[in-house]
């Protein structure tokens, strides 16, 4: 495998061998099926998330990429019912599969959308933890980090004594590369990176099975960003949690996620293993997005990004929402909304008419998939040739 995300990072517990179908056959921990989310009601409603299916495998890192307003955060927040007014879930189910109990008894699956407040409270944080972009807003400004850990552990682990709670908090901070003396600090006394680390430590406090990372490093500098992400991925290997990693920065996901799902205008448009998505995008939008990041090496040449701008969710174009910006759009794209469906002979899914029926996809969207028994060198040279154009 050419990318570390796909090989070195796969935790031992995961059943998925690189190249295997990433969700079918993988032990799922969180399954989102047909999720629909609206902002507002009735005729005025904006369909922020439309009919999304997404499966997070146990111990996997699933990247969710998309531009602002594409619905990526809405999808995640709605899945755990933390979306704020005027967001309303209008359909679908979100299944959480707890890890099997130690005595082999299969644990019961819970539909988060049907769950009551009590059930949700029991699951949130202890099973599904969230790290948001702004740790400053998530942390309580008037109490120390230590006090916040203490409260968290006292609520969820009532059996723990005061001293052991403090020890556990110290251990957690060390886990994310901080010193335990930071427990005495207030959030405003720490840098942005430190605060985000503290947030991650708190998210890990109850040993969750799922971490939802919503733009966790967007507000940070590149160096800190890489440090924190590397630590997170290291922790994932050790602790075996699954992560839903939401970001607008596709290039970051290529490096850090196992699988990537791309969202556009409220719909999932492509889903594939990270390396496949990067080396051989099948969706014109993904292709365009990958060409929005100027390369760090080689000749400089003009790149054009994607023409136009993302659509208004309340005034979506008919058919495929991307067709006005798509250079390869065919008549059918203007009429019918494409569904996310598996590509024949491969383990990936794409919602694009260019890959359906008799349509012929342009060569740019037909590059050999590195995960499908292609020698890596071929894929690389192909890409660099393309880039030099």
């Amino acid at each position: 495998m050419s990318l570390p995300g796909a090989s070195a990072m796969t935790s031992p517990g995961s059943l998925a061998a690189p190249g295997a179908a990433p969700d079918r056959g993988v032990d799922p921990v969180l399954e989102i099926r047909g999720l629909c989310v609206d902002y507002g009601f009735g005729d005025d409603a904006a369909h922020a998330v439309a009919d999304c299916d997404l499966t997070l495998g146990r111990g996997r890192v699933l990247g969710l990429a998309g531009e602002s307003g594409s619905g990526k955060s809405t999808l995640a927040m709605a899945a755990i019912r933390l979306l704020r007014s005027p967001g309303v879930i209008t359909g679908g189910e979100v299944l959480f599969h707890p890890r099997p109990a130690s005595d082999g008894e299969p644990a019961t699956t819970l539909d988060l959308l049907a769950a009551g407040e009590q059930e949700l409270r029991a699951i949130r944080w202890s099973e599904i933890a969230i790290v948001l972009q702004s740790a400053l807003n998530a942390l309580n400004p008037v109490s120390t980090i230590g006090a916040q850990f203490d409260e968290l552990l006292a609520t969820h682990r009532p059996g723990l004594g005061r001293a052991s709670r403090r020890d556990r908090a110290g251990d957690l901070l060390e886990l994310v590369g901080m010193t335990p003396d930071r427990l005495r600090s207030y959030p405003h006394e720490m840098s942005g990176g430190m605060r985000q680390r503290a947030m991650i430590a708190m998210a890990l406090a109850l040993d969750p099975q799922v971490m939802i990372l919503d733009e966790p490093t967007t507000a940070l500098d590149v160096v800190t960003q890489r440090e924190i992400l590397e630590e997170l991925m290291g922790l994932r290997d050790r602790l075996g949690f699954a992560a839903l990693f939401i970001t607008h920065d596709l290039s970051l996901l290529v490096e850090f996620a196992d699988d990537i799902a791309v969202m556009y205008a409220g719909r999932l448009m492509e889903r594939a293993p990270a390396a496949s998505l990067f080396r051989s995008p099948r969706l014109p939008y993904t292709y365009g997005l990958l060409h929005c990041f100027p390369p760090m090496h080689g000749e400089r040449h003009r790149m054009d990004g994607i023409p136009g701008s993302p659509p208004d969710l309340r005034d979506l174009p008919p058919g495929c929402a991307f067709h006005p910006r798509c250079q390869w759009a065919i008549p059918r794209c203007r009429q019918d909304v494409p569904k996310l469906e598996p590509l024949t002979g491969s383990h990936r899914e794409v919602a694009c008419w260019l890959h359906r029926d008799n349509a012929t996809a342009p060569p740019e969207l037909m590059r050999p998939d590195p995960a499908v028994a292609q020698p890596r060198t071929a894929a690389v040279s192909d890409t660099s040739a393309e880039r030099a154009v």
Partner: protein
């Protein structure tokens, strides 16, 4: 559905959401706002035409408009000359709101009084708002020494209790009661400091916004930046503080009139008829104990009603400034039917299956 004009409060509203009008000029059309507007319009109309449509002069007395009751122990059968005391007449076709003990028409008094009361409220609010804009926005924009000086003045006025100062001022200017402008000015002096502080704080935050900086970079002058770039952004706050000050000014005018500090219409120079003075007369003549509700209740109700109208409109502005106070595009009734609380609980996104929604929106579309 009357409520569908409300804007979504999505964090990043998609471009082109509502075309045409600038954000600052759109007011949510909720029942509250409509009710408030109706009340205000009615009072405004009465204020303008009240003096014309009043059947009588408020000062006119007519012996026949009271019932003369013989004082016990006087008149025939006693050696004391007959003495009568007046009893006001209850509402009738001739006197819609009855009469006072002074044999005057209450309906006419109420109509005429509306003018001065509403006028003082609006004028005082206008003067006070102008003062608070001049002081608050200037202080906020200039910063430094100018800010400290102006803020100090504002804080002094904020610290002095308003009503006592008002009483002292009104007492000091005996002619105050004769002129709408003088009364308004006195009330405005005690009212501007609070809004000025709010406006200063808001200006401070606007001052560092990039568009102000950009105007400065393009060589725009100071006064123009304040008037053209900053002030329009303060409109919601100015409007809210204007309404609030109107409410306060009406209350203050009623209070000083009630205390007799704004002159009497019958003295010289004559004061102005207003609801506060009407209340003063009812109080002085034991109207409540006498059971003459048609005399004391109308001015009291008018004050309450006008206050409610202003407050309702203020709520509307509040909702507009803070869109989280409403569930977008959903009436209270529809929300209850869907089982959603109007103030949604944090951390529990409602699940409403689409088929339910369709039914409701179809229902609400039918007239």
């Amino acid at each position: 559905m009357a409520l569908n004009t409300t804007i979504l409060s999505e964090p990043n509203p998609p471009a082109g959401a509502a075309a045409g009008t600038p954000r600052a000029l759109r007011l949510p059309r909720s029942p509250k706002v409509i009710a408030g507007l109706v009340i205000l319009v009615v009072f405004a109309v009465v204020a303008v035409i009240g003096a014309w449509i009043a059947p009588y002069s408020p000062n006119l007395t007519n012996e026949s408009w009271v019932q003369h009751v013989l004082v016990a122990g006087t008149g025939p059968g006693t050696h004391i000359k007959a003495d009568y005391y007046p009893l006001p007449l209850p509402p009738s076709g001739a006197h819609w709101l009855g009469t006072t003990v002074f044999a005057q028409d209450v309906w006419s008094q109420l109509l005429v009084s509306t003018q001065a009361t509403v006028a003082v409220g609006l004028l005082a609010a206008a003067i006070s708002t102008a003062l608070s804009i001049i002081v608050g926005v200037t202080a906020g924009y200039l910063g430094g020494g100018a800010d400290e000086g102006l803020s100090l003045v504002g804080n002094v006025f904020l610290a002095i209790p308003g009503l006592p100062l008002l009483i002292v001022l009104a007492d000091y200017v005996p002619a105050a009661g004769t002129s709408i402008f003088l009364v308004s000015l006195i009330i405005a002096i005690t009212a501007w400091a609070y809004s000025s502080r709010v406006l200063r704080a808001q200006t401070l935050s606007l001052r560092n916004r990039d568009f102000v900086e950009a105007a400065r970079v393009s060589g725009e002058g100071r006064v123009r930046i304040i008037i053209v770039e900053i002030l329009p952004n303060l409109i919601p706050i100015v409007a809210a503080s204007f309404l609030f000050t109107t409410l306060y000014a009406i209350g203050a005018y009623v209070a000083i009139s009630f205390l007799g500090l704004a002159g009497s219409p019958t003295s010289s120079p004559p004061g102005l008829w207003n609801w506060g003075y009407m209340l003063r007369e009812t109080f002085a003549n034991d109207a409540v104990r006498g059971g003459w509700w048609w005399w004391w209740a109308p001015p009291g109700l008018c004050i309450a009603l006008l206050g409610t109208g202003l407050a309702l409109l203020n709520f509307g502005i509040d909702e507009f400034v803070n869109p989280r106070l409403r569930v977008a595009g959903l009436s209270r009734k529809a929300a209850r039917r869907l089982g959603i609380s109007r103030r949604p609980k944090l951390g529990l996104t409602p699940v409403v299956r689409r088929n339910v929604i369709n039914v409701t929106s179809a229902e609400s579309r039918t007239p």
